[in-house]
């Protein structure tokens, strides 16, 4: 019995194996809707305003951004559900606008949420239906469905109606459906939203295991720690544009350094702020106001600057405490999004 079978496949059937998993060039996407009743007015919303992106094969890439930034729109464009208004999108070397049918068997999409499943039938029946839709051979269906149910931890609930499932269980079933046909590229749109901490941790473990098996993953998330923990690289999408893309480390450097100092107090004046900005190693000073109270956040490039030096500059304010911590992805994200907004 042969353990391995070597097969030849026409390149035109499958698409090239080299090159990036995703290549997006100047993609724009505009939605049109109508306002009014008798005299309707066309309203145009630009969800994507010239996005450029490349994701390598085998990479776990994070897409971050506030609500309405265009993350889901971009995922839908990449997964052939939406056509771009302009620009080019290649997924696994195939133009998604010209040839979506060739892309679809090779990608998985997990949009998540309460909807998107047939609630009146069981989890197993849902998976059986979608395995037919995605071309899983009948001889392999039973085994494959059992496998994915076990992978997401739904074996016990496999024959229960989906309407009895909790939000977390539905989320797991969405993921099971997404990986049912063993896609090379998986799109995960906020996969841990609504999950309890334990389930979210299991989900992240599962995502890591998929990447370890060679699956390319593009993940959107609101949770910065999740992206920081999981992703090789991240991009920040704001108002339909990618405002930064790099490793988490690279993004920290981009916004001004690995170190962050914070100080809270009242009545910091412009002269003090200017003096803080002028300190050697300070790349950025962000001021936030909470009623009369202010918080100053300093991004620091240099390792030489101490909290004492900062406190010294603000000695006019009594009892101030300058705290130091590592710059998180959340800091980076907020800086970038605020910068874009301003």
């Amino acid at each position: 019995m042969l353990d391995a079978t070597f097969i030849f496949v026409w390149p035109t059937l499958a698409g090239p194996m080299d090159g990036p998993a995703i290549r997006v060039r100047d993609v724009k996407r505009t939605y049109e809707s109508r306002k009014g009743f008798f005299f309707q007015e066309k309203v145009r919303t630009e969800a994507l305003r010239g996005v450029d992106l490349e994701v390598a094969r085998g990479e776990l890439f994070g897409l971050l951004g506030p609500n309405g930034a265009g993350k889901t729109t971009l995922v839908k464009v990449l997964s052939t559900l939406l056509l771009p208004t302009s620009g080019s999108v290649e997924v696994l070397g195939i133009d998604v606008a010209k040839d979506p049918r060739r892309v679809r068997p090779r990608i998985g999409l997990v949009l998540g949420g309460e909807r998107g499943l047939y609630n009146r039938i069981s989890a197993r029946e849902n998976l059986r239906y979608f395995s037919d839709l995605y071309g899983v051979p009948p001889s392999q269906q039973g085994r494959r469905i059992d496998e994915v149910l076990a992978t997401v931890g739904l074996t016990e609930a496999a024959d229960r109606r989906v309407e009895e499932f909790s939000r977390g269980m539905k989320q797991k079933l969405h993921l099971a459906r997404g990986i049912l046909h063993e896609p090379e590229l998986l799109f995960l749109d906020e996969p841990t939203i609504g999950l309890d901490p334990k389930s979210a941790r299991e989900m992240r473990k599962l995502i890591r295991s998929l990447v370890a098996k060679g699956v390319t993953v593009l993940l959107t998330s609101h949770y910065m720690f999740e992206a920081e923990e999981l992703c090789h690289r991240v991009a920040v999408l704001s108002r339909g544009r990618i405002v930064a893309r790099d490793t988490v480390q690279g993004l920290r450097r981009l916004v001004g350094g690995d170190r962050t100092m914070e100080v809270e107090g009242y009545g910091f004046d412009d002269a003090e702020l200017r003096a803080l900005k002028a300190l050697p190693g300070v790349s950025r000073v962000v001021t936030e106001e909470f009623g009369p109270r202010q918080r100053l956040t300093l991004r620091i490039r240099s390792m030489d600057l101490t909290t004492g030096e900062v406190a010294g500059l603000l000695r006019a304010h009594r009892g101030l405490e300058v705290k130091e911590r590592r710059t998180t992805l959340e800091d980076v994200y907020l800086d970038l999004v605020e910068e874009e907004a301003s």
Partner: protein, 280 residues
């Protein structure tokens, strides 16, 4: 014995993937529709109870008229319900896909949505046939209404043809449901006009002359005329006779199928342009 594994020669190409086959998706969609219907017993009202109620009401109204008129009214009432089931059911399932949020993952599958709708149409047709059989059994058998059908076998064969012709209309209408979430409103209004112009309740010959071209645009008009010509004693029907009716039914049904396939391709593309698959 270890399971064989498939390894691709290292190089430029990805492994070939099994492709979803249309007929298999049709069967899967049929199965899903049966499961969904059995999970929601409301369908029994529309497919089994309503036809019997309509037919009994029609029988009571015409029981003292000629037997052919009684037959007309009973079958007309039964068919009206069956048509509702077939026409409405197929589109309604697409509307449900919108509501459940399953339209997007279904459209994102590597197979044409027309196969998914096809499976639903098959179930709805069968469900309509079951309804028809129940009407005949209850009204003709248990209630004792006269059913002077000339040739029962021909009747059954042509009845199946009527349902097949109707399915093609159901398929075409379903594309409209994919196109817009408002299709249900249009269909609710159009349903009754459809009953009239296709001669469901009474022969199209009784309608004003100007409506005939509209009637003839629908395959069930031809199929129903064939059914009545061949099995109803004393039925006049359309001037071209049974053969003309059969050719018209088959030709128009094939045309409807072809247009449906093209229309589905167009509406799914349009949906990807508009981005409205999750609206409901």
């Amino acid at each position: 014995m270890s399971a064989p594994t498939t390894t691709v020669l290292p190089g430029l190409i990805a492994p070939a993937r099994p492709r979803a086959s249309g007929p298999r998706v049709l069967a899967a969609s049929f199965r899903l529709t049966v499961l969904m219907f059995s999970a929601d017993p409301q369908w029994i009202i529309s497919s089994l109870m309503a036809p019997v109620v309509f037919a009994l009401a029609a029988f009571e109204m015409y029981r003292f008229s000629s037997p052919v008129l009684v037959l007309f009214s009973i079958l007309g009432a039964g068919m009206m319900s069956m048509w509702a089931q077939t026409l409405y059911g197929s589109g309604w399932a697409t509307g449900q896909d919108r509501e459940f949020g399953t339209l997007e993952p279904t459209l994102g599958a590597p197979v044409s949505y027309v196969w998914v709708v096809g499976g639903r149409v098959v179930w709805n047709t069968i469900s309509g046939l079951i309804g028809g059989a129940v009407v005949l059994a209850v009204v003709g058998g248990a209630y004792g209404a006269p059913l002077p059908i000339r040739d029962p076998l021909t009747f059954v064969a042509l009845f199946l043809l009527v349902m097949a012709a109707l399915s093609t209309v159901g398929l075409l209408f379903s594309a409209v449901f994919v196109y817009s979430r408002y299709a249900g409103f249009v269909q609710n209004i159009g349903e009754f006009a459809f009953y009239v112009v296709t001669g469901c309740m009474f022969p199209v010959a009784l309608l004003p002359g100007w409506t005939l071209p509209v009637s003839l645009a629908f395959p069930p008009t031809w199929a129903l005329d064939a059914l009545r010509s061949a099995t109803f004693p004393g039925y006049g029907g359309l001037p071209w006779g049974l053969t003309g009716d059969l050719l018209g039914t088959v030709g128009l049904s094939v045309l409807y199928l072809a247009v449906s396939v093209g229309l589905f391709r167009y509406v799914t593309r349009h949906l990807a342009e508009k981005g409205a698959a999750e609206e409901w």
